[in-house]
Amino acid sequence: MTTSEVQVADFQLSPKLLEFQQKVRNYAKDHLGGAAVYDAETEFPREAVEVAGKLGLLRTTVDEEYGGSAMGNLASCVMLEEINAVCVSTGVTISVHNSLVNSLLGKWCSHEQKARWFPKLVTGEWLGAYCLSEAFSGSDAAALRCTAEKQGDHYILNGAKLWITTGSEAQLFVIFARTSEDRVKGISAFVVEGSWDGVSVGKKERKLGLRGSPTTEIVLDNVKVPADCLLDTEGNGFTIALDTLDGGRLGIASQALGIARAAIDMIGEHIASQQDKRGRPSASQPIQWEFADLASDLDAYRFLTWRAATLRDRGIRCSTEAAMAKSCASRLANRAARSAVSLLGLAGATGTNPAERLLRDARITEIYEGATDIQRLVIARGLLA
């Protein structure tokens, strides 16, 4: 999908995107109030995701031909910032569904494949999961060991995928598995449905944060996958995985912006609430500085994110720009959340206050979909190539 009209003019979103932003903001306000409960109870925000599906938030990266709204990556970024500013567990579910699964299927599937899976994905009847990582392959994704053995008109998949977001709640899994020994060209991508024999949910991770989003192992035990569930061509899986991650990184960058914004808003409210006996602001200068620095970086890194999304919407490769966005925004989210806890003091460290949850949720943004150090190497190589 490419969006040809100008979406950002003079640093302002187009009227269409501003309207969409408001719609999502309303959704977040009305339907994501349970964020603290999802966290405390490690409960999947099922209803919130269902409502998102009804409002069309699960189809922004799908072409209209298949029931999508084709709003593209920039719109997805705008949306994800709003959602993640309120509930990060809902946010990552929608990010993975849109920025990884739907984006990937839209780009690499045949018409027949799209017509088969998108109707269920765009409504949220099905949720998607992206299964690349394994126990022995995190940042070094090409080291994956999961196998796909061709047998007549199908493949037999075996292995286990680790740290799968939405693992226990998804119905459709994009699985990267090894069709030959070649480290990179031996990897192929498949769609596997959760209902098939041999697909099961393994260990569920207990995590620092993001506790409303189930992160699980997905175990593949002699799963019979029809050959028409192979995506693109055999051996092109690693290319697909990396290309998709550019979009995924924009999703996580936006998630990080949302978290940062929530934390910065808390600090701002804290400053505004501190008054001396005569009603004048009494927050210390160092706190105001910290607030100013964080707020400035929030604006700056949002522009980085929007720039990369705009490039991707235009079909221009944006690996360097997406890596800049994710690297900067995710570090900001953590810095902002840590500052919020510090500046709010005791209140910031108790569970009655969102600051400590933001701090716990933020931490994953520097890890998944490419850790910060990987982003930095992508940036350095991209700029010096």
Partner: protein
């Protein structure tokens, strides 16, 4: 650990505590934390070692060993359990103010027969007519303590009082960290209080309790930082990426070097402050500096350690997420590092 500055006796205390940690604390710390279980068993084990009177003078029945072995021993505890470290710190604060105020509760507290917690000036408690009123958002050990010692004001005067913890309204906290330290919010509305000291005597005792917390938290945080660094080293030497152990990557090494440098500096500050204190001189500024530096180093080390662990670091089994939460929680206690910076400023530019 370089023993340049410890006497043989002091060294033995540190060693004994280290063994206790290895035998009793390490095997259970993650599980206890995850289920928010209280570290009673460990508290009692420390009591059996007799360390709650470690820094109490010999004439008052203590070991008279000063603050240095307290700080040093807290390192090995902090490397595993900030919760337990914090319990010891609270108990030591109590013991030392009871020593200062000549209270006959000292023996029971030093023996660990009573679990005590200390609520400092930052909570702003007040006393009127012998009744304590006020509210503390978070007090470690509050839910399990027998006794609470509180810094308060009575009119214009500073007072130090003790109250039965059971007489206060306490509610358990689902906080960021220190899950095994029974942290609670405490509300007192006219709770009967025993005045331990007032005026200058109270101020002196409260100052000592503060100093004890700063030094103790510094020691515990230095330990927490070492714990995170060790966990990262272990993981990075075992984990293979791109065909080699993670630990051979410059990137990983550099992170660990920088963390190691931060904690080494914080540790020297903490030990220096403890030594100066043990010489009977004022080390309040250095102790505040040490606390800030040590907690910052602990948070930095935990943060980098999580990063080096990758996805594993985000899960509870690898311990480092606990150090991250505990480090940030230690940071905001005792008024918090941010207000300590203001106090340092006030002390320096008064």
């Amino acid at each position: 650990m370089h023993n340049l500055q410890l006497t043989e006796d002091q060294d033995m205390v540190v060693d004994t505590v280290r063994k206790l940690v290895a035998d009793a604390v390490t095997p259970k710390v993650q599980e206890l934390d995850e289920h928010r279980g209280f570290a009673r068993e460990w508290f009692d084990a420390l009591a059996e070692l007799g360390v709650y009177g470690l820094s109490v003078s010999e004439e008052k029945g203590g070991a008279g060993m000063g603050m240095l072995p307290f700080v040093a021993a807290l390192e090995s505890i902090g490397a595993q359990s900030s919760s337990l470290a914090r319990l010891w710190i609270g108990q030591m604060q109590a013991a030392l103010v009871l020593e200062d105020t000549g209270s006959d509760l000292l023996d029971e507290v030093a023996a660990g027969d009573k679990l005590v917690t200390f609520a400092g000036r930052e909570h702003g408690f007040t006393v009127a007519g012998g009744k304590l009123t006020g509210k503390a958002l978070m007090v470690p050990a509050a839910m399990e303590a027998d006794l609470m010692i509180v810094a308060a004001t009575d009119g214009d005067a500073t007072v130090l009082v003790s109250v039965e913890a059971g007489a206060c309204e306490r509610s358990a906290l689902r906080g960021l960290g220190l899950n095994s330290a029974a942290c609670g919010a405490v509300t007192c509305e006219g709770v009967a209080a025993t005045v331990l000291a007032s005026g200058d005597d109270a101020s002196t005792a409260i100052d000592r309790a503060e100093l004890t917390a700063w030094l103790g938290v510094a020691g515990a945080s230095v330990g927490g930082a070492f714990g995170s660094i060790e966990a990262a080293k272990k993981h990075a030497s075992e984990r293979i990426a791109f065909g080699k152990p993670l630990l051979v990557q410059q990137a990983v090494q550099r992170k660990l070097v920088e963390c190691g440098r931060a904690v080494a500096a914080a540790r020297q500050l903490a030990w220096h402050a403890a030594r100066v204190t043990d010489l009977g001189e004022c080390a309040r500024d250095t102790a505040m500096q040490a606390r800030i530096a040590a907690v910052d180093a602990m948070v930095l080390a935990a943060d980098e350690s999580i990063q080096i662990h990758g996805g594993f670091g985000y899960t509870v089994e690898y311990h480092v997420e606990r150090h991250y939460r505990d480090g940030k929680t230690l940071e905001v206690l005792d008024g918090g590092n941010d207000s300590l910076r203001d106090r340092l400023a006030a002390a320096t530019f008064a």
